[in-house]
């Protein structure tokens, strides 16, 4: 049997945990994180902590403050900017995904759509949120354009916290599943222009929903 699960390094684990905690607000904006403190808290040496902090710094989730790292997190302005950027870029990803479509890709998208329908029918908000993430990440990957992936996927991760809120609105969740299905179909048919337009509209809707919730 092929080796399928590559061992995750401690540094990766620390990064995943800290990223999640910061995005979800476990570490609030303004909190100071020190390498030694985290090392003790997580029971590892400073080396993997350092690596994780540097990556968080590069994603601007924390900032070096001379004395420790201060948590920045995601502000409401950030969130608006993220949606504005996604609104302008994510259609490109869908376009290229449609242009590069393969039978395997179609299958992958269909699987995600099926999952989405399943969790929707079960009213499982948490899982719907994950599938939503996966759907958008999958299309980014299917575009085959690395720069687009690198631009979009960090933005997807940063919206995780708020995605939960949006998906909690059941009418919107129903609309999302419908829009996703239409996008997947356009991509499967290789209709790049349609996929691009549907995706852009989808993000615009999500942005409007988000603005509405914040008020």
């Amino acid at each position: 049997m092929k080796k399928r699960f590559k061992s995750i390094s401690l540094a990766d684990q620390v990064f995943d945990k800290l990223e999640d905690d910061i995005i979800l607000g476990v570490y609030p904006r303004g909190q100071i994180l020190t390498e030694l403190g985290l090392a003790e808290e997580l029971g590892v040496s400073r080396t993997p902590i350092r690596e994780a902090l540097r990556r968080l710094e590069q994603e601007r989730l924390i900032a070096d403050n001379g004395k420790g790292s201060v948590v920045l997190g995601i502000t409401e302005d950030d969130l608006l900017d993220i949606m504005n950027i996604r609104e302008r870029i994510e259609g490109l990803a869908a376009y290229y995904a449609a242009k590069n479509i393969t039978p395997e890709a179609v299958q992958e998208l269909e699987h995600l759509i099926d999952l989405q329908d399943f969790y929707f029918s079960k009213h499982d908000v948490e899982q719907l949120r994950y599938v939503d993430d996966d759907f958008h990440d999958a299309i980014s990957h299917l575009s085959g354009r690395m720069v687009i992936c690198d631009t979009l996927i960090p933005l997807h991760r940063k919206t995780r916290r708020y995605r939960r809120l949006v998906m909690g609105d059941w009418d919107r969740a129903a609309q999302v599943t419908k829009e996703h299905r239409a996008i997947a179909q356009a991509i499967a048919e290789g209709n790049g222009d349609l996929a691009q337009e549907l995706m852009t509209r989808h993000i615009v809707h999500s942005k409007e929903q988000l603005i509405k919730e914040e008020v």
Copy 2:
């Protein structure tokens, strides 16, 4: 006298050097870099090298290959994607810059425009390239939107190599200086919509120029 120059850590220096070397092609695509090899070559220990490699990995300039890191660099596809993304985002930066304009910001932009005119009159292509970089970075910063900065500035860095080619075309360089001046003026006047449109058109022109050169 105030301490003005913060000491740059070895890791930062290594990162800057490697990033430059990869973007400018000193390390060609496909070359394998090992931590130990670089440590010996640069005369530092593996720790700062590791940190630099991880950051390069996050920018997808290299990829971990199990045995060392393989240089990816910037492909022509990447470059096209970068310009497509900038074309869609950089107008936003200009828009916000115009909205947040301050007297200091106006002065900074005017200074960059003056510099640009100066180097243009001296036919100094190399310096023009730097000023071009600075101009676009400055507008990103003036937008005051961190997510936009984080999206655009890495893309600016990655186009450094090709910017030199473009600026070598003297007609285009003249046009660039004119377009920059118009953008700076729109921003200084606080005209966000105009700044956005001028900036977008400017990037579109640059993209078209780039495509023309590659053929």
